[in-house]
Symmetry: C2
Subunit: 344 residues, 2 copies
């Protein structure tokens, strides 16, 4: 199985490290010839995760995304969700036929606000059967320093998911397989919203006692949403049951759900938490964005999930209050006074 990695940020670089450390040769889309030349000479990415070194003999770097896809069996998509449409617009749809797509994207496709599998299906008629995700609590920095991490590979085709996962296994990566292909993606989006809220709580000067109650209740709310989604495959505006993903007895305390929520909420480096902290302290959304010079993923995610949940109808008082603070100018203090009442 030949892997093609589409993306060259820090998470993409971490994945290239895993694959090459496992002995896999990798086709890697790197847009700039200077960067390709640098990596070949210096054995590491100068721009991202510079402390990760590769055996460059295993790397086939190319400037052309279609050349990477053509040469690969498994196309690993790992660009920020904000840019995925730009990248996919360059892709020759014929080349995708018969390939497997492995998504490492932690977010919805902006604009249509879809899970990537739904976007690929609509745009390329790409079958869910060939779609897989790679998610879990895994800061790229800890991959660079080879601290043991757990990654979950999901797909409706669990056998193929296991084969793909095997290529990422190294002494510092343990792999887990499940078939909750929709749930794991929603969990990755929701965790950013709850982490943003954890930042707000911090900015509002709640203490550690409250934070633990907030995160526990967020975990419960996430599980309640995922149980609802698990039974029905829902695309915004449409409703169609998908028996393959019917699972009511999933373990939502596993690493890809609760683990990822914990690492994101408790990390002081999380952009969502930093952004939320500023909102909690009284900054407007605009001035927090100006100050940080970036958009925290949880900000758009809060709106998307609010809309998606209109169709799903899960009870989500925490996430919807965070949405109303960010998008409907509810004062953080007032919003959290409501959250206080629903927690147990």
């Amino acid at each position: 199985m030949k892997f093609g990695v589409i993306g060259s940020g820090s998470w993409a670089t971490a994945l290239v490290k895993m694959l090459t450390d496992h002995g896999q040769s990798v086709n890697w889309w790197v847009r700039s010839p200077e960067t390709i030349e640098y990596i070949q000479r210096r054995r590491h990415n100068p721009h991202y995760l510079a402390s990760a070194y590769f055996d460059v003999q295993q790397l086939q770097m190319r400037e052309d995304v279609n050349a990477v896809i053509a040469a690969s069996d498994v196309v690993v998509l790992v660009v920020p969700s904000a840019y995925i449409c730009d990248v996919m617009d360059q892709v020759d749809s014929e080349l995708l036929k018969g390939k497997k797509v492995l998504s490492a994207i932690k977010g919805l496709v902006p604009g249509p606000d879809l899970l990537l599998n739904d976007y690929l299906q609509q745009r390329f008629d790409f079958p869910l059967q060939d779609y897989f995700t790679l998610l879990g609590p895994c800061h790229a920095e800890e991959v660079a320093s080879e601290k043991l991490s757990y990654l979950t590979f999901s797909g409706v085709d669990m056998e193929m998911a296991a084969q793909i996962a095997a290529a990422f296994k190294t002494p510092y990566i343990n792999t887990i397989i499940n078939n909750d292909i929709l749930g794991v993606q929603y969990a990755a989006v929701l965790k950013n919203i709850y982490a943003l809220g954890a930042g707000m709580a911090h900015g509002l000067e709640y203490g550690d006692n409250f934070l633990s109650v907030y995160i526990a209740n967020s975990a419960d709310e996430m599980a309640s949403f995922l149980r609802t989604v698990g039974a029905e495959h829902i695309v915004v505006g449409e409703h169609h049951t998908d028996p393959i993903t019917q699972q009511r007895d999933l373990n939502y305390a596993a690493s890809v759900y609760l683990g990822d929520l914990l690492v994101t909420c408790y990390s002081p480096y999380s952009r969502n938490r930093t952004f939320g902290n500023m909102i909690g302290k009284g900054y407007t959304v605009q001035s927090a964005q100006l100050e940080m010079n970036m958009v925290a993923e949880g900000y758009n995610a809060a709106k998307c999930m609010f809309n998606i949940n209109k169709a799903i109808g899960a009870d989500m008082p925490i996430a919807s209050t965070i949405y109303r603070i960010l998008w409907e100018r509810v004062r953080p203090k007032k919003g959290f006074a409501e959250i206080e009442k629903v927690m147990n």
Copy 2:
């Protein structure tokens, strides 16, 4: 309802603050006349939680534990679990008749290794119907600074639990009622074991990615134990079903379960975490205890729960590995290599 607080450490002092802030008058067992005189004059406990001030007109402090019990309807037990037998040996069993006991003790009664309700039943024939607990993620320091915290009051008599809880309600304390009187106590014991393990993981130089997976899997293991206990009231060595506590659909992501686990595992100040960290770094149990000049609660708890679980038979690979590291000289690195394999 008159409350008598048995104990004068930091958690007892925090509870006296809540009760008096709510406007309740409190009988308080304070053993030294000098301390009583100091508190009357200076309005705070000189030895513990000195930043919490009271309206002393609401306090009736006495040196005699039986005088406090005689004057109270609800006896709040809040001494370290290591000393509870010494205290109860001084108590006139006739005086306990008809009283309610509210336990704020986060541990098993040492020696017989029983939940406090089982110990009181055996020693004083005290009925479970009159027994309540007050538990949840709540550092006393945050009570002193009036940061919002959540406390869960449990009892088979939920109406009485609600009446008792009402006396602790203040702007900084939200109260929750449940009837899982065994589960909440076991959760309070188990969290110390898992926090000790979190310290070990830190000492072994695992990173944040691993820690989040470890804590998520600990939460799952705790829930699995509690589901088993929830269906059967089990005293060590005996087995008898107790239909009152039969609950299979409890929310184990609530504050008194997952919330308390999170605040204990993530707190860098936790004694259990500090102790575990030293074990992970290679100290023996004896030298870690000497160095810390105290025993971490999770150390004895690991052994007790290992024995208790022989009767219950829940699947607890994490807790039992921590037991074997602490009590059977399994090397931490070897133990955690086993824990790595069972997590998902």
